[in-house]
Symmetry: C2
Subunit: 427 residues, 2 copies
């Protein structure tokens, strides 16, 4: 065949390379958690799970091929890489995460010189699915993805994390009131806030996606008093992206021409997509789109109904574009905001320059130097129409806050939410 | 509030920006298809679908915001971009595509200076889901994604495409024989081959993912005589990636240390993951992994069973890692192969240097200069153990070819496939 051929000679008795345990790397030194240990920590592949030996002071925690030792400093291609970033993702076995995790691993979020560790938080019920996700991450051979661990205890999974992307939340059951959902999910975010407070990096950035995300973020930050409140975000970026797309469509331009779009308020039907400050090709939207009726009535409705229309068409909720908007939200914090533009994020209102009630989480316009932090934009236009709608969303968030007083340490809850303001297409 | 405030004054009567039709861009000049027109072509958003007016010589074809005019040459940031690449994806409403389309749009496949047009092929049944996917692509605001169109007629969707990623295929029904699956899916790929032959770019690259992918690719290329047979690929990259991961795991190294892994043969249980030529840290695998029994027996089994284990764990098939492997397969053709390494692809055997039967599609080791083309690697090791297994996979593909003779223009089909060689976890 004209090929070089190595004689085939079977080796003698197999020589194992050493036990799996010896090769396994101690990724994390776990403090004893503050509450009973729930997590099953495994280093497994293809069903051949091996429960890592636990010692009083430390434990090994990794998945499959990610248990292997590596030394970034020893390689020409990797020695200039940044220090490893630890990213926790809750709801890691769900569909949004199934898109997001691979985006994180590919380098498109944090850059091609930023190695990452993914710490997947799931539930007892979803543990096998978490293993499946970890297997698919193994099979994807992403060079930047250096560590993957899975667990069901936030006190373990959040250990030393630099980012916590809190996607997991209970879906609303049939007939469940929004108040009940606030309570159920609020409890989850209270627990996760406590865990972050106990074990995460002191400068962890927290992005809450699980709904109702603004109030969940508030609960989370209230339970994490040792982490700056400024570090907590509720995701309204998908709403911003949808608003930009609809403005582009109406103006007959490509979406890259739309800037300065703010989503104000709650991630609910009281949210306020702001067309007063938005720009198209650098001009105020009102100078480009003369159809004021559309701007005042249809625009907001269209943005809000988008998720519901998508479910009708596609039969599933918008996991892919939600994951894209999470990527956008993170990138907006780790890359400098383009000159003159801004982005929306649900952030803590205390100290805000707009006169919005303090001590809630409210989506507002932000700018970042790319250091993970942000500042609120002060030079925004305001008119009565915009302000009245902002006040309505503020009133809703203040009412939601009263519903969860038992979870924020502010006394007894009193819940009076007249309307169902869940966005169509969201649980 | 200390904010600049623009007085709120409602505009007079709304001034529409011109009709949607006037703003709509003629993306493609469609030749009349060679067969009855099946496609519904729409420019729609949020359910407000507007069927584009058809004229005898041309028609408009686009989705939502992607109908808007843009001029890449007019912008500082985009004028250095490459010429638009047209990419068709079949099975576009399915889960693999749901991952892949967003990867294509993000620029991670073709690069950050390569604008792309996505042409989504679905079925009548999946048309609404296609609209949902297009809506999520709109909402993702990817700057490189300049055009999206959806359709159900390959003669329209494949018009001028530079890449055709053929993911869609019928799943195997309960009790269906592999021969029946070969026939049903073969028919789809015969039709798509004819359509590519009629309307695609003369240098279109075709990647077949739908199973049985090797024989589907053969059928496709036989029905596209005006397109070089060398341009057709069957996806075996997920198998390669899985093999690399398992070798890394066994050797106790990170997966970036594993190179020169070939998957030989059919994407079925007769496939041959090649550990003879594979290297770990530049050394032959056999010099690193001394457990020959594992290499000869368990390694191949583990690679092949991976998809089945994943379904057990995760409850779904491996859409995410399949999409990653499609990205890898394309990138291996559009970026130069690293010195000394290679990648696997199911390609046309005629002229191969190994002595494998001609005129089938067989996975073999390839190298590329990054121009979209490839050459087979000639300096590979061969031994009896490897060769015998290659011959078994070759025999299977020759038998599959006989089953589809009626679809390749080679007379009457005669089908005698003794074993079920579908990979676990694949339909």
């Amino acid at each position: 065949m004209g090929l070089s051929t190595a004689a085939y000679s079977p080796a003698g008795s197999p020589t194992p390379l050493g036990t799996a345990t010896a090769r396994r790397r101690s990724v994390h030194q776990f403090l004893r958690p503050r509450r009973p240990l729930l997590a099953t920590v495994r280093c497994s592949v293809d069903g051949a799970a091996a429960v890592a030996t636990e010692t009083p002071a430390s434990r090994k925690d990794c998945f499959g091929v990610f248990c292997n030792i590596y030394d970034l400093k020893a390689e020409d291609t990797t020695k200039s890489w940044k220090k490893l970033v630890n990213i926790a993702v809750s709801g890691a076995a769900g569909m949004i995460s199934n898109h997001l995790l691979f985006k994180l691993a590919s380098g498109e979020v944090f850059g091609q010189d930023q190695p990452i560790a993914l710490k997947l938080l799931g539930s007892e019920r979803s543990f096998q699915a978490l293993e499946g996700v970890a297997m698919e991450l193994e099979d994807s051979l992403y060079p930047l993805l250096r560590e993957v661990s899975i667990g069901i205890d936030p006190y373990e999974v959040f250990q030393d994390v630099d980012w916590a992307l809190l996607i997991g939340a209970k879906p609303r059951g049939p007939g469940m009131e929004r108040a009940a959902l606030l309570d159920i999910n609020g409890q989850i975010f209270a627990d996760q806030g406590k865990a972050l407070n106990a074990v995460a990096s002191r400068n962890v950035k927290v992005l809450v996606v699980g709904n109702p995300c603004n109030t969940n973020a508030l609960i989370c930050l209230k339970n994490a008093p040792n982490i700056p409140a400024k570090n907590f975000h509720a995701l309204t970026r998908l709403d911003e992206n949808r608003a930009k797309c609809q403005l582009a469509l109406k103006a007959g331009v490509f979406y890259d021409k739309v800037s300065n779009v703010t989503i104000w308020g709650n991630h609910s039907t009281t949210q306020v997509p702001d067309f007063l400050n938005a720009k198209i090709d650098g001009r105020l939207v009102k100078d480009v789109i003369k159809d004021t009726k559309w701007l005042e009535e249809e625009f907001t409705m269209t943005v809000q109904k988008r998720g519901g229309v998508l479910i009708q068409k596609w039969g599933r909720s918008s996991a892919a574009s939600t994951a894209v908007s999470i990527v956008d939200a993170i990138r907006s914090l780790v890359t400098p905001t383009p000159e003159g533009d801004w982005f929306s994020s649900g952030v803590y209102t205390t100290g805000n320059p707009y006169g919005i009630a303090e001590d809630i989480v409210f989506s507002m316009p932000c700018r970042s130097k790319g250091d993970g932090d942000y500042e609120l934009v002060s030079d925004v236009l305001m008119d009565d129409f915009l302000w009245e709608r902002i006040k309505k969303s503020e009133a809703e968030l203040l009412a939601e806050k009263k519903c969860v007083a038992h979870l924020t340490g502010e006394g007894n809850a009193f819940c009076d939410l007249p309307e169902d303001t869940m966005l169509p297409g969201e649980m």
